[in-house]
Symmetry: D3
């Protein structure tokens, strides 16, 4: 990254992200290492503010990254913020969902720059970016099945849109981390670049885009968003799915998954 000073976004409580604008390129750096950059309500609000600030500053391309050399890019949902059983943990107002919509409607491309592990909801956030570049050591793990959380339909659609179905299912059903190299080979991510070069590489990619015609780029992004969301589902199917998801978040396993996570032990599931 050719620009060294990182500025704090003013907000109540200590900031959890850093932002920077340079050459028409806005950078958001996750900076809450104590919580492994978990996507807390607070951090998400800061990111939304940052995207607003970028829009006002006519930013053409945004980069989403963590600090260089980090071990965990983001641990995903702040599990302590998930509701206890009986309520949908992933509704439309959920902070992750709100952030993902923000990324999708930001008028310029958003590039994710990944070092370290990307877990759970952070995995969907990264896949929802327009492009993804990672270091060879980066890994991606989709963990709802590990936690017992019933993922929502638009969330699964993010996975299905960027990954071949067999690969998406392996990610989602095993919950095991997948390497950057494997995901690049299958077109899920755009490139694998060593840590020492990745900042310059992504910035160069952003600069190329920023020199293109911004309106043309912006309308293409919006057209692709509409096409990607055009999997039409009948109301009957959708209500049935919601009902199946409700069984899950009312189940003992759901409570066990969250409890186990908080107690830092393996969950023990019975399918009930």
């Amino acid at each position: 990254m050719p620009h060294t000073s990182l500025h704090r976004t003013p907000m109540q409580g200590p900031a959890q992200i850093l932002t920077d604008i340079s050459d028409g390129i806005g950078t958001i750096t996750l900076h809450h290492e104590a919580k492994r950059n978990a996507l807390s309500e607070h951090m998400v609000q800061e990111m939304i503010q940052a995207f607003d600030q970028f829009k006002q500053a006519d930013v053409r391309v945004a980069i989403l990254r963590a600090l260089p050399g980090i071990k965990v890019w983001s641990a995903g949902h702040d599990v302590t913020e998930l509701p206890a059983g009986g309520h949908d943990p992933l509704s439309w107002q959920d902070s992750l969902r709100t952030l993902i919509r923000e990324v999708e409607v930001f008028p310029g491309p958003v590039i994710a720059l990944i070092e370290g592990g990307v877990w759970g909801g952070a995995c969907e956030l990264v896949f929802a970016c327009d492009m993804v570049v990672a270091t060879p050591e980066a890994t991606f793990a989709a963990t709802p099945a590990k936690l017992g959380v019933p993922y929502n339909v638009t969330g699964l659609l993010t996975f299905l849109n960027v990954a071949p179905p067999h690969i998406a299912k392996e990610l989602l059903f095993t919950g095991r981390p997948m390497t950057a190299a494997r995901l690049e080979r299958q077109g899920v991510i755009n490139g694998v670049v060593p840590a020492e070069h990745i900042g310059a590489h992504v910035f160069e990619m952003a600069r190329t885009i920023a020199q293109n015609a911004p309106l043309a780029v912006s309308v293409m992004k919006e057209q692709l968003r509409i096409l990607a969301g055009a999997n039409a589902v009948s109301p009957g199917d959708f209500e049935r799915i919601q009902s199946l998801r409700r069984v899950v978040y009312n189940s003992q396993d759901y409570a066990e998954g969250i409890q186990a996570f908080k107690e830092k032990r393996l969950p023990h599931y019975h399918g009930e």
Copy 2:
């Protein structure tokens, strides 16, 4: 596979499959080598029974395989069971279609473990599984164009859902076998593992899934199934397609294709 004894499913006539349940993982082993594991009406009925048995036994993950060391995993449709010209060879009640729906709605993931050649309808069956792991020697050939059979829409959708369109077309239009290595590179299958390790590898994958929350896995599978089938076609387009398919199965070429197969010679087509 860590469990050695394989049990026969009780049924009239000699069984064509073996089934086994261990550690919450059910295994179906195709075992009708005399007919190269062709997907006969009889074998399909046994498989459907096995899936029912798995559901009652709370099986969390199913594995679909053939005997180790086999040359042909399955030859696909039993061509002798296809109707002569004048009737749709691939209707909703066709045994292959029924089996594929069974795989799709089975409440846990189904992993295909592939050694040897996978031909014709068996190719669709394998692609309809949730994950696929193969040995380096495995090959996949989609043969309807070779036989002159007009594939049906949901069948083609299975190919289009798991393979990039240019690759799906190469498979379907040439009918030539494609290697496991190539399909893995393009995200169509999940892994290539040498024959000596593949059993343990797949069983380990299944065990990982079986330890996750079963309800969460199950509802995600169902959501992905709905999304994958959501290619909405207008009634007008569909009836036109049915009509084009009818031209094919009423053609001389269709009769020639089946005849040539039975006489073990190359067909000679005129496009009529």
Copy 3:
């Protein structure tokens, strides 16, 4: 290519393509090197005539190629034919769109054989073919963002149908050339073959298909076409998109992009 003589298609003005039929395989060779095989109105009309001629001659497979050893396979739209600002540059009657529909409804598979650079609209034309084989030196660049042209929805759907979304976005947002090797790895193209062998390789592929049952191949191609176009968009979304595109082709940047191209200089955009 086993057949050496290339015949000119009779038409007013010097022909811009060569055509040939042999063994039930029709070949169209772009042959307007002076204009880097730009897809002019004239060339497109010749290609449409050639496809008609192929249909009458019961051609089973078509090959679309340029002369061996060429540096630019096709430069895409003839920019001098694009309308000045204020009118949609990519409407349904646009010659490129007409040609692409012709490729999609041609009753047999169309294989693109690529040497050299493929730019802009030519990139979509090649991706709209049923299969693509390229030499290691071939590159593919989608340039609307460079020119400031708002691409249309069916055009973007061609990209989204054949490439993983993150890769499609990289192509479209950066406008930079992507290598054949990278596109093959991600399933966008079918093979990379050295220049000296590519002719024979593609002809062999075509011959394999031509020996299969033509009606079965033809109806599968049509079914896949219907399924690939089945991304249903609501009229409201569509009219909003048209309106966004109109903003683009009425913008100063659009005029600047075309002007800069004609003056062979880099455009300078302001997002207005």
Copy 4:
């Protein structure tokens, strides 16, 4: 009704419906006047049993009615069974929804014979029948807006499918009863017949249908069901709607509506 004896369906607790089969025509008579035939869990279970019994007895047409001369055909949901705030009152497993699906998939037509008032959920049940005949005194009132209940999407689709949108909105937004004469004029119901003749009239209509080819009738009903449910909604829109509905059933107004109903007073709403 030409057949006078009505038989009780055996079940635990006093039966709330009567059933009868004669001439291939099954009749369900709501018979829980003490509760104004509210669609309690218990009554719905009995009706589902009755439809099962009809299927086993090869019933060709079903009639759904109340006792002759009744003032309230059905008061709709048993409001005391609705959940207090915080949970979706109209989920897929809701007894009304289950019953409506039962009516929709019953293999023969279901004719509603209406005397008296039809309120709330009963209004949707009647509209979901295949045909509706009413006495001149019958009235229909859709009351979710009066109670403050957020109706679900498939429920609203039932209204939108059978009534012109402006009429459906008047029913749903005002909550006021609409007369049979008005609904007949606009094609929402099939006929208005004086109380003394309505039984014979409906039975004659049923007999006409019962003499037609049962398989042809049955498959047409199923085709029309599929077409009527084919309003495809994008996952994003659906999740947003679910979220809006959640705001409603978490609101003070929702609690007030149910409370007021139980206290038999007018509710007082604040839009919060």
Copy 5:
């Protein structure tokens, strides 16, 4: 009708229709009273020729009628032309389906002028016209359930598009004739006019349209056609429906219905 001379369309065998063009308005008069204007293959071919002739003559509006004073406007399908059991009686190439598509894509509005009875397939043909005007004595009967014929999806969509679902079901399930007055009241037809005035009334309506801007009318008709056919059905649902229809046309009841019709007796159905 202000124009008295009716010209025969030249064709092999005695003509079954009369055609006339005057003031930019083309009139097709069914004229095969011996067969009650049954929609035979021959008559349909003549009608398609007439529409072609109208297009070449820049006809702005077409009128479809029978001779004044006739008792049966059209008896619908020529039942003797329906296939015996085992083959789909209503495929895409069926002459009725072809004619209906011709009416739908004719560039100007088609007005049906109805005196007498309209039966079976003729009922769909009339509903597929853009407007319908009838005498008070006219009646409409949809008879597939009487004959045991499984109607196809686009055919049912024609009914569902023009009639409220409860009315469409009454028509289709009872097979009984419905009066013009009732259909006018519910918006299915546009007007009821006494026999002595109907010719002048319809011609005046046609003249009003013919004086409007033809291109604007034509594109609106096409837009409405697209919107009316936009009930998207998933491939899985469609193939299931085809399979249910196949059960019907393979049934004993189907054969019995056609046999009874030919023997001019009531059919006797068993649901098998």
Copy 6:
């Protein structure tokens, strides 16, 4: 109307509407009789401001009306504001389209109260309201075919959503006025009430709705809006339609229609 004083909305230039809020009910009264309440850019902006003001004032129901006793409720588009040929006259940013979206997303129901003639674009505006009540003398005329204007898809969808297709086509193809009585009979409008009572009648209807639970009403309106817009059109069909519409607004007839209107003479069309 129980409230007598009407307040002017502050805005530059003389106000063209009056607004009033009373009992939670907001009323907009068109008041530009000199231009027959044509929907000018200026009037539309005032109406949008009024809806904003209503939202801030927690208005539960809006009434849209003209002054009592008026002869022309609204003449529709201000034809002098339509673009000359060569540009789409009905794009997404068109003031009528913007206003209609405003009506559709206003959180409470909007009731149109109609006296006098409703012409052209005003006809769509009225149909886009949630309910419509008219005096016996009111008439409705859809005039694009008279003017030669190619209507847009969402505009036609408004007609198709509220009127039976045969009636919608009669309105659109003839351009002739239809009476309130006829439209009420077919469910297109909600009631016909004599001029002396209509104000009180509509206000009473609004008050009934305003006493219901506002959140429940609001979410039902939004759900119905989504369902009504869910006619999914494929990108290919849409672009073809746009292209057909372009032919129309580039035609001589289009210019002639606008010219004739300005010169207050009948247009003379040639279909070119």
